[in-house]
Amino acid sequence: MQNVSERLRTLAYETVRLLTLIYSVMSGWRIVAQGKNIVFAISAAFLLSIAAGAQIQNQPDDGQWVMAAKNYASTRFSTLTQINSQNVGNLKLAWTFSTGLTRGHEAAPLVVNNTMHVVTPYPNYLYALDLTKPGAPMKWMYQPHPEPASQGVACCDVVNRGAAYYNGKIYYNTLDVHTVAVDADTGKEVWNTKLGDINLGESITMAPIVVKGKVLVGNSGGEFGVRGWLTALDADTGKMAWRAYSTGPDSDVLIGPNFKPFYQSERGKDLGVKTWTGDQWKIGGGTGWTWISYDPDLDLIYYGTSNPGPWNPEQRPGDNKWTSALFARTPETGEAIWAYQMNPHDLHDYDGVNENILLDLNINGQQRKVLAHPDRNGRLYIIDRSNGQVLSAEAFVYVNTSYRVDLQTGKLILNPDKATGFKTIRDACPAPPGGKDWQPSAFSPKTGFIYIPHNNLCYETQGLQANYIAGTPYVGMNVRMYAGPGSNRGVYSAWDPVKAKEVWSIKENFPVWSGTVVTAGDVAFYGTMDGWFKAVNARDGKPLWQFKTGSGIIGQPVIYKGPDGKECVAVMSGVGGWSGAIVAGGLNPVDGTGALGFVNAMADLGKYTTKGGMLYVFSLP
């Protein structure tokens, strides 16, 4: 039986490869009814890269959207051009869909086989909408019934960042630390695996990706003293293939003989234990709560780990490895190949989890395989993704907590005046949500720019003794955030990763907490927390179009080609998340330390938006 299915899979794989070869040779030829298998995308990328010596950022695009980041390189770039900088001004609302929920809607909708799949915040409904019919009526709805108590261990609103499609199934995570596989046609649950324990403060909010038949999932709970991990599950059965912890002995972190980090500071035995005091690594955070990228050529996955716990750094002497770090691992075994810690002994809740966009760039006259990582610490790292060498790390927002990154040692040179602890520190920038938080950037191979939705926040803080009680917050800092220089709290900017310089930027009143998408039509889309969905020219940032949605936007816009051949833009509206907790959670603005200090910066948000989850889809008339 195994043999038959194996052979069938090989046959399917070979067929797809052949089709792809034809596709790559005969440009313009359109494959119908593709996308049943994500292997197509992998093999297409593989073959195209051989055929044309193409760069990883030039991913094939079938007009679908099968994972939150669009592709393994995480470019969030659509090759569609029907909507372009000339005509985007005519964009009209096509249809809407209410999720029936009022917490923060951060997910990217998926589009597969003429069906849109929408994951909601807790209670993590999954809706399937039929794109072939007018108004996209519901095909089915799946309810995983997560444990309601899990809402008490979600640090930053009960959000979910989306699903992944692979081989006929939709994969996503529920807040109570489960991963589920749902039949994409019928909405029936195929498997449901429990990965952790809310009584230890664990939860999951991230969008998984599927690599080589494995569903990759990381836990959340860096504010609850959890032990961070990334786990691979068999996509067919849901059985755990491996788990790589971020702290602890090398055997738990899956560090073996092939681990070859670039910098001296990352070498040594059991650093996940030795860079901590006592047993603190067991409750030290380092969760993998956001994005994973994959390079099929190097056969490596890339992801970052969260802040260490507790926030109060005086309670955890040492470098606290491998928190606030990047890992490159082999997808089959989870074995670590290299690691780089952006923020050793983190002082400001600078998680290392932000997206890694895989690019092949010409840097200093040399073609390099890099990853672009805009870190919470306000610096945009360009790192050689084959070995973990930092090529540049320039600030993309106002930064005064660090001076620079020493490219010889990889060390972040800190400003001692902004070192937090029990004492009071004021005007440290960026604030804990960082230069940017989870909100993912996009890259256009046409312009060569990275499009970054981000924050402009500074803060004041005072540490207090954090007391570890499993399943409750483990933070130990009182925080009050406020707008950074210029008094605008958010920015949307275009960044040139080769020159390591900003190209243009747009000031926004609130943090730009939405994702973004950019197209071959030279249009970039993003949303604002006061509810505007905006299109700007990808070349110069000139505003081209905007639409006021019902609630603040913190979702990830996606672009797809509908069954009628029309290019569509879809985005979820529904304010919330850490930044929008004041509205979604009905918090009281008199206490600026609310929502870990974000309330102080967002006291006026309620005057601009109300809560309510709604999907909006736009197209040209």
Binding site: P148, A149, S150, Q151, G152, V153, A154, C155, E223, T424, D427, C458, E460, T461, Q462, L464, N467, I469, G471, T472, P473, Y474, V475, N478, V479, R480, Y482, A483, S487, R489, A581, G585, G586, L587, N588, P589, V590, D591, G592, T593, G594, A595, L596, V599, N600, A601, M602, A603, D604
Partner: protein, 178 residues
């Protein structure tokens, strides 16, 4: 004869046992028990057919005690209540500086909520926090809403944030200044 003695002994024992129960007097039910099982922790004012009797009120034994309110504030941090409710403004959990309570804002309700937990994320602390400390925390929470005498309430909190009572005036929130 032998059996007779045993029977008498057993009868005596049972009688004595019964006597234990009979002589037990619950002169004043403890506030705790009333809060959990009793009339005082009702969460709905809607009473079909109208109230049968006036609702019992359980007074917090630490009402008006500056020391206990101060202890309540310390414990509020120590048990990580502040991790979710911040310094009263809320975060993961709802704010505690407010007028509308999901599960009632009377001392008995607050005690009940802490002991039993609530289904949407509030942990159940019964058995983890001693009862007297729960009452101290309740006293502190009530102080956040000005429901303790001013003379017993700290003029400022132990945190970066001044006492919310002061902020509840015209000043409004911290806002996006600077």
């Amino acid at each position: 004869m032998k059996f007779g003695i045993v029977k008498i002994a057993i009868c005596c024992f049972v009688f004595i046992l019964g006597g234990c129960q009979r002589e037990h007097r619950d002169i004043q039910p403890s506030p705790t028990r009333l809060a959990i099982y009793g009339d005082a922790a009702r969460e709905s004012p809607l009473r079909p057919g109208g109230p049968v009797q006036p609702q019992a009120v359980v007074a917090n034994p630490y009402n008006g005690s500056a020391y206990d309110i101060s202890e309540g504030q310390r414990l509020f941090n120590w048990y990580n209540c502040s991790g979710c409710h911040a310094n009263g403004g809320g975060g993961i959990g709802p704010p505690l500086i407010k007028k509308e309570w999901i599960y009632g804002g009377e001392p008995a309700n607050l005690f009940d909520t802490i002991v039993k937990g609530r289904p949407n994320g509030m942990p159940s602390w019964g058995g983890r926090i001693p009862e007297y400390q729960i009452w101290q925390i309740v006293a502190f929470i009530r102080s956040l809403n000005g429901e303790q005498p001013k003379s017993a309430t700290a003029s400022r909190q132990d945190t970066l944030q001044p006492n919310p009572q002061n902020l509840m005036s015209e000043r409004g929130g911290g806002g996006a200044t600077k």
